[in-house]
């Protein structure tokens, strides 16, 4: 409530802006009067000499030259050489590090180069001025992009991790987020499915929200994306990604900051220090993906033996005679379906420019085939950015990326008993081949009288159904930056994000039981942004450094769709392109949603003596998704950092190169995903009277909550950055505690209400944890070895549930096991698995459950916590070594202590009634009177399973995500002026995984639930990188 007056203050910003306007006008008048005194600009250049026309103070003019080198004696090209006091003049060194300048004896030359600081030399009488520039403590001088601005790393008060282009491009991935995995402490990337294309999710410092996506906000070149995955970008387009973690860094994004913010900066042209040379980078690679692991399933004869066993146990005649068993084939459906598939990517980036104009353009193609035929992902993208300085005061810049994504999808999630692709691959009887005697698809459901009625030959999905999404994406923004006086920057940024896609589906009339089915859905999602920010920087008395930011932004989000479909096609020739040819045209559909967000923001950074750093920020967000009374959310933050290493008492300790303590506090929010959660829209439908359709209108399954409030997350963070030995060793540690209040949740309702769920503010969750990062340059020189490592511990706790009672999660609906399986309970971690505890087998080999409440029967009151999907800690370790022209890197990543709910195995281990294939383990280790403690129950139709600890497995893993050997060709020896760099490499991804997890892969969606998902592949890659 303290913040409300603050907000009114913000609104009075309007009037302040009028004052600024007056000020600006005065400024213009002042400049107008003063321009007459300006003197023409003297210039120096490396080959032309311009003599200043004003010679009143003339001394002898001389042409001098020199070479600029680093400590190792390497020539530094592109070093800026300027005359002190004349900031708009200058030249740069040529590719050999040489320069020429015409100066007089009193001139002081300033040599500067990014990463090397600057050096001043008085020319005096010398004709040749050679300079050695020392590499700076790079890490501290690096510029880090933060919300609505950037700061030097040393000036950071918040917890921000940076992932650079080299790491992002370390190995080929189809989604830039994959490359974040393991790179920064506290950032966990979940690849829930191995299907090509974007199914990534990222968690920064755990999950706060139950209902919200828990995905961080992605900001690309200043544009906060509306969707979660920045699929529009190619890895090679990205210059850097900054991960804002603590509230001091994220609160400036207010209602979208609670899950952290990932700021993505695309490549910009004319990198400082490279002079005017145009850089061309080319990269291409080719990889082969293969299924990482196969499951050990029964063979044909084993299958028959198994079901004869079931018949014997159930007192039925055997299904197979011994002779039949001996002659049964053994068909490996996994080998048949999973294939080796290539992944190819090529990119070209060109950047360059001059003092006034910089540009960067890039294009790329990625083609990833899936290890299941037809699940391919192609991305074509082009990108351009240009920045032009109209005058000293006015700069314009524009960025645009356009991509086309073509995604083939194969039904790969969920299902049971062979009614989905993965479950059919696992469940298909090995005693059957895919084709029948006539060459048609074998009807698996009819082949044996024990077969599952639902099972569908997987070839139906693979050959007779196409799901293809073609999407065109544009992300474009343009900005004008105006500097009325040197300390003030006013920036107007406008941008648009647009995605047009068409989801096409066609199921042929050869698909089992289908008469042909086509559907086209055209979606449009767009978001428009207008943002006006002003930035004021001032250094007073060399001690007080102020940076003040203020701004207002407006963003809207619109999505709409139209869908048409039909059934019954006599020919498959036209696919989805002739809906009019359907025997049964189905009812079309369309929809439209819009929401808006209006925000005021401000931030003040104040640095005293380069030692004490203060940041406060405030943002007010108004969202159309809430009713008037609860519409505005206020998000303040504050931070303090102390650079102890700048204190006199540490200055003598040379081994300490940097020591900084940071503390911060702040509030952030989570937007509800639903656009209109406070309204109860009625959905149209039909009923029939007589022979005719009649319209019907009724609510859908969500009961609206008109009193919904913002969910807010309050976070404190204490951290330290410690660099020793010229920052060869940098250690970062953070402790944080995030408390999320007014948690939004879709609370399940009793079905007798007719509504399934309602949104409510249900409680509070806390996430707290520790993150440690280490950056070490172990060896320098010829043999270089850098290691970065990070580890993060996060613990969540449900502090309060307003209703007091437990909140159950989604229901697993597989035929043999159906129940809810997660719980939120006060005092426990979030997302825990909940179910029955098994207690061995009874005398008939049936699974027994523990009667926890001791009432003599097993009821849902006997359920308990059975597993925890939250890891004890996650870690990543990257090692890169180079010797002469060879680079060798490897990257390890893993989680420890998390459980997986293995729903995938249910159909293949206890669902004995449907003639499905089982894992071989079941045949070898099931209950018999002689083996009462077997892993699996008696083989019988009567086996009844529940959501129990049987399905919980240890999901810890250690994965060699990438290993790479690269050779940099000695191009300088080839004497090719045009070729600057050439690297060839071989690498492998996911080649080694250490885990106890029994199913395809331990990498899970964040829910920790494995439910027949598309298996993750391993990849062997060959690539080349060249620079011109």
């Amino acid at each position: 409530m303290v913040v409300r007056p603050l907000f009114y203050l913000m609104q009075s910003f309007k009037y302040i802006s009028i004052l600024i306007a007056v000020f600006l006008i005065a400024d213009v008048l002042f400049v107008k009067l003063s321009y007459a005194q300006e003197i023409p600009t003297p210039t120096i250049a490396n080959d032309t000499v311009k003599t200043p026309s004003d010679t009143t103070k003339a001394k002898a003019q001389d042409t001098i030259s020199g070479i600029v080198q680093d400590e190792q004696g390497n020539a530094l090209p592109g070093v800026s050489v300027m005359v002190k006091g004349r900031p708009n003049t200058g030249t740069t060194t040529d590719p050999n590090g040489r320069y020429k300048a015409t100066v007089d004896g009193n001139t002081i030359l300033v040599f500067s180069y990014t990463g090397y600081g600057s050096k001043e030399e008085r020319v005096g009488t010398r004709k040749e001025v050679n300079v050695v520039l020392q590499a700076e403590q790079e890490a501290l001088e690096e510029v880090v992009v933060i919300g609505y601005g950037s700061v030097k790393k040393k000036d950071l008060t918040g917890s921000v991790a940076q992932v650079k282009a080299t790491e992002i491009n370390a190995f080929p991935t189809s989604n830039a987020l994959q490359s974040l995995s393991g790179r920064a402490p506290g950032v966990q990337v979940y690849q829930g499915s191995g299907a090509p294309g974007p199914s990534m999710s990222v968690r920064i410092r755990g999950s706060n929200s139950i209902l919200g996506s828990n995905e961080p906000l992605y900001v690309v070149d200043g544009f906060p994306l509306s969707g979660s995955n920045p699929t529009i970008l190619n890895n090679a387009d990205i210059e850097s990604m900054e991960i804002l973690k603590d509230a001091s860094a994220t609160a400036i994004y207010g209602s979208r900051g609670a899950n952290g913010v990932v700021i993505i900066t695309t490549k910009q042209g004319g990198v400082e220090g490279t002079g005017n040379a145009t850089q061309v980078d080319f990269e291409a690679n080719y990889g082969i993906q293969q299924i990482r692991k196969k499951l050990d399933l029964m063979t044909g004869p084993e299958y028959a033996t198994f079901y004869n066993l079931r018949a014997a146990n159930d007192g039925v005649n055997p299904y197979f005679t011994q002779e039949q068993i001996n002659n049964l084939p053994s068909f490996d459906w996994q080998d048949f379906i999973f294939r080796s598939a290539p992944i190819k990517s090529t990119s070209l980036n060109i950047g360059g420019g001059n003092e006034r104009t910089q540009f960067s353009i890039g294009g790329s193609v990625l083609a990833q085939d899936g290890i299941i035929k037809g699940s391919d992902y192609d991305r074509y993208s082009i990108r351009g950015s240009i920045q032009h300085q109209l005058s000293d005061k006015l700069t314009v810049d524009a960025n645009a990326t356009m991509s086309r994504l073509i995604t083939g999808r194969k039904d790969s999630n969920g299902g049971a008993r062979g009614n989905s692709l993965i479950s059919a691959i696992l469940g298909a009887p090995p005693a059957l081949t895919p084709y029948d005697d006539n060459g048609g698809y074998r009807l698996l459901s009819n082949a044996f009288n024990i077969a599952a009625p639902d099972i569908i030959n997987p070839l139906n999905w693979i050959n007779e159904e196409v799901n293809k999404t073609e999407a065109n994406l544009v992300l474009a923004n343009a900005a004008i930056t105006y500097k009325p006086i040197s300390d003030i920057n006013i920036k107007l940024l406008t941008g648009i994000e647009n995605r047009d896609d068409r989801e096409n589906m066609y199921r042929t009339n050869r698909y089992q039981g289908s008469t042909g089915e086509a559907r086209i859905t055209a979606n449009n999602e767009q978001s428009r942004l207008v943002e006006l920010t002003a930035n004021y920087t001032k250094l007073w008395n060399e001690r007080h450094n102020f940076n003040v930011l203020g701004g207002i932004t407006y963003q809207d989000f619109i999505n709409s769709y139209v869908m048409g479909s039909g059934q019954g096609f006599i020919s498959n020739v036209s696919g989805w392109d002739n809906l009019g040819g359907a025997l049964v045209p189905l009812v079309p559909a369309s929809g439209y949603n819009k929401s808006t967000l209006l925000s005021y923001l401000t931030r003040v950074n104040y640095t005293l003596d380069d030692k004490y750093l203060f940041t406060v920020s405030f943002r007010a967000d108004g969202s159309s998704r809430y009713r008037t009374a609860n519409r505005w959310g206020y998000f303040p933050s504050g931070a303090f950092a102390w650079r102890v290493s700048q204190e006199d008492f540490l200055k003598d300790h040379n081994w300490i190169s940097d020591l900084k303590f940071r503390v911060s506090w702040g509030k952030t929010g989570t937007q509800i995903e639903d656009f209109y959660p406070t309204f109860n829209p009625l959905a149209g439908g039909y009923t029939v009277f007589g022979q005719d359709l009649h319209l019907s209108f009724a609510p859908e399954t969500d009961l609206p909550n008109r009193d919904l409030k913002w969910e807010t997350t309050e976070q404190i963070d204490a951290g330290l950055d410690f660099g020793v030995l010229d920052n060869r060793l940098i250690f970062t540690a953070d402790y944080y505690r995030k408390t999320t209040k007014d948690l939004l949740n879709a609370v399940p309702l009793p079905t007798s209400m007719g509504y399934a769920t309602t949104f409510q503010n249900v409680g509070q969750i806390r996430n707290s944890g520790v993150e440690l990062g280490l950056n070490a340059n172990i060896f320098k020189g010829d043999f270089k070895w850098d290691v970065t490592a990070n580890v993060a511990f996060n613990r969540s706790k449900v502090l309060k549930l307003y209703g007091g009672g437990d909140i159950f999660g989604d229901e697993l609906k597989m035929n043999v096991v159906s129940d809810s399986r997660t719980i939120l309970r006060e005092g426990l971690q979030r997302g825990l698995f909940f179910g029955y505890l098994e207690d061995g087998y009874d005398e008939n080999g049936q699974i027994k459950y523990k009667d926890l409440n001791g009432d003599g029967t097993i009821s849902n009151a006997d359920r308990a916590v059975i597993g925890n999907p939250n890891p004890d800690f996650i870690y990543g370790l990257n090692s890169s070594m180079s010797y002469k022209n060879f680079d060798f890197t490897f990257f390890l990543q893993g989680t420890v202590g998390n459980d997986i709910f293995n729903a995938s195995s249910i159909g293949s281990t206890v669902d004995y009634v449907s003639g499905l294939n089982m894992t071989r383990d079941v045949l070898n280790n099931h209950w018999t009177p002689e083996n009462p403690n077997a892993k699996y129950p008696v083989i019988s139709n009567t086996v009844n399973a529940r959501v129990s600890d049987r399905w919980i497995e240890d999901g810890s893993f250690l994965r060699l995500r990438n290993i790479q050997l690269a050779y940099n060709l000695p191009v300088e020896k080839f004497n090719l002026g045009w070729l600057k760099r050439l690297q060839v490499y071989v690498s492998g991804q996911n080649l080694l995984t250490v885990t106890n997890y029994s199913w395809y892969d331990p990498e899970m969606p964040s829910s920790g639930s494995d439910y027949l998902s598309y298996p993750i592949a391993k990849t062997y890659t060959f690539g080349v990188k060249a620079g011109f």
Partner: protein
């Protein structure tokens, strides 16, 4: 020259400054944009006109009529419980009476959900339509009556399958936790809803066949009264319908003639009282898929689908004792489905032209005039014993079933002399069993008469106990409704 150019810059800058300020004002005035309403029909603003009220009533029907959670699997489940039919595959548990696995617990849970979804939609009408501002009172009463009729029909099914259930009505529809009401309370609501419906529903639905009429209300009322042993009232109410003269039985000469009642494209027969209606446009009846076999051509001819989830056997006592002269018996036909000798399947509901599982368009008969006659016959027998009126109603059914002239006495007629009142009731119940095979009546008859255990033992050889009379309340209800603490016995 240069100076001049710079001057132009300055002037432009001047304008720019002002422009930034203008942008700021424009942006901060965007707060109006924060009021966004969905571009869709809202509960908050609907239910004003007769057309809107009608569309709201229409929404009561889809969850009941359609798909794999509606009447088709519901009916199949009820039929598996009978003494004459069996379930195949996952449906077998319903005739085994030996507990339900997760599949079948969910299956009956889906029926619960569908009934309550329909009830919610009915409650919305009952709650909002009286406040409509562009309807006459007559129109309001009609739509409320339609909703109450459907609500009563849903509760009538809920109470018979689950016993005491929570009563969700217009005043408590958004309360999460509701305890179970007693069976008596549920019947009291059914009674008052049906009586309201009877008063305000129209006599005729020729414009929209299938829409509730007062005759439908009277029929359900008769059924409920008989079920709750209010025989005199049941007799009077059913007699009212008979005496209206609006309905008559469709004559039958051969087995194939049953298609005139149950087949595709029969329109509104003289026998129809309350049917669910279907069309091809994604609004089909799922039941023919459940019962037909892919190889007979009775369903999706050439396409070959059908779950044949229900079957019977010639060795079942019910079947064995059935006279071969009864044409209804011949709706069963032999088919080897790997479940032993003598297996028979039903062809009461067939649609060879169906395009897919959901594509059949046979009406689903909830109440036919045949049932009105038998309701009357039974109520009459229970109140007045053996009477000519009662026997006449019964004989119409019997004559039709044997291919005789419905209106004329015949050699297979039941004679008053051959009955005591008790044996007459038994005969009527048996006639109901023959007449309504696969129409979801028998299980309720067996339960209300207390003969379930005996007849299931005799005809199918299965033993059932008290706990098998009610289905389990779904887990989703028990988990989220704190008002319900106990499931039905045995679950």
């Amino acid at each position: 020259m240069i100076h001049k150019a710079q001057l132009i810059y300055k002037v432009k800058h001047h304008r720019l400054s002002i422009w930034f300020v203008v942008v700021f004002f424009m942006l901060s005035s965007c707060s109006k944009e924060l009021d966004q309403e969905p571009r869709s029909i809202l509960e908050e603003t609907f239910y004003n006109t007769a057309a809107e009220a009608e569309a709201a009533v229409n929404a009561i029907f889809p969850p009941l009529r359609l798909g794999a959670q509606g009447i088709a699997p519901y009916n199949a489940t009820l039929e598996c419980h009978t003494d004459y039919a069996y379930g195949r595959g996952s449906w077998a548990q319903f005739n085994d009476f030996n507990g339900l696995d997760a599949t079948n617990t969910n299956r009956v849970g889906d029926f619960w959900n569908s009934f309550y979804l329909a009830i919610r939609n009915a409650n919305l009408v009952i709650k909002h339509v009286p406040e409509g501002d562009a309807m006459s009172d007559e129109e309001k009463n009609r739509y409320v009556a339609e909703a109450k009729f459907m609500r009563a029909w849903c509760y009538f099914h809920l109470v018979r399958n689950w016993g005491a259930v929570p009563l969700r009505i217009e005043s408590n529809m958004e309360e999460k936790d509701l305890a179970r009401n007693s069976v008596e309370e549920v019947y009291a609501l059914i009674d008052s809803d049906l009586r309201f419906a009877e008063s305000y529903l129209p006599e005729d639905n020729a414009a929209q066949p299938g829409r509730p009429t007062t005759w439908m209300a009277k029929t359900v009322l008769s059924d409920y009264l008989l079920t709750t042993n209010k025989y005199q009232e049941a007799r009077d109410k059913s007699l009212e319908i008979i005496q209206s003269g609006l309905f008559s039985l469709v004559p039958i000469q051969r087995v194939d003639d049953f298609e005139r009642i149950f087949g595709v494209g029969v329109g509104v027969t003289s026998e129809e009282v309350f049917h669910f209606k279907y069309t091809r446009e994604g609004q089909g009846n799922y039941y023919p898929f459940i019962i037909n076999h892919p190889e007979t051509g009775y369903f999706m001819k050439g396409g070959g689908k059908g779950a044949y989830a229900q079957y019977s056997n010639v060795n079942n006592n019910f079947y064995k004792e059935w006279s071969d002269g009864d044409l209804r018996k011949h709706l069963w036909y032999p088919m080897d489905i790997g479940l032993g000798e003598g297996t028979v399947l039903q062809k009461k509901f067939i649609d060879p032209a169906a395009a897919n599982e959901y594509g059949a368009i046979n009406d689903f008969p909830l109440y036919r005039y045949a049932e009105v006659l038998l309701l009357f016959a039974e109520a009459e027998a229970r109140t007045n014993g053996v009477t000519t009126e009662g026997l006449n109603a019964l004989n119409q059914i019997r004559r039709r079933a044997y291919g005789k002239d419905i209106g004329a006495a015949s050699d297979i007629d039941y004679q008053p002399t051959s009955f005591s009142p008790e044996s007459l009731v038994d005969t009527i119940l048996q006639e109901r069993a023959y007449e309504f095979q696969f129409e979801g009546k028998r299980w309720f008859d067996l339960k209300r008469t207390g003969e379930a255990a005996e007849l299931l033992q005799k005809n199918k050889g299965v033993t059932i106990t008290e706990k098998h009379y009610l289905w389990p309340i779904p887990l989703a209800e028990l988990n989220y409704n704190q008002g319900i603490t106990e499931n039905n016995p045995g679950y």
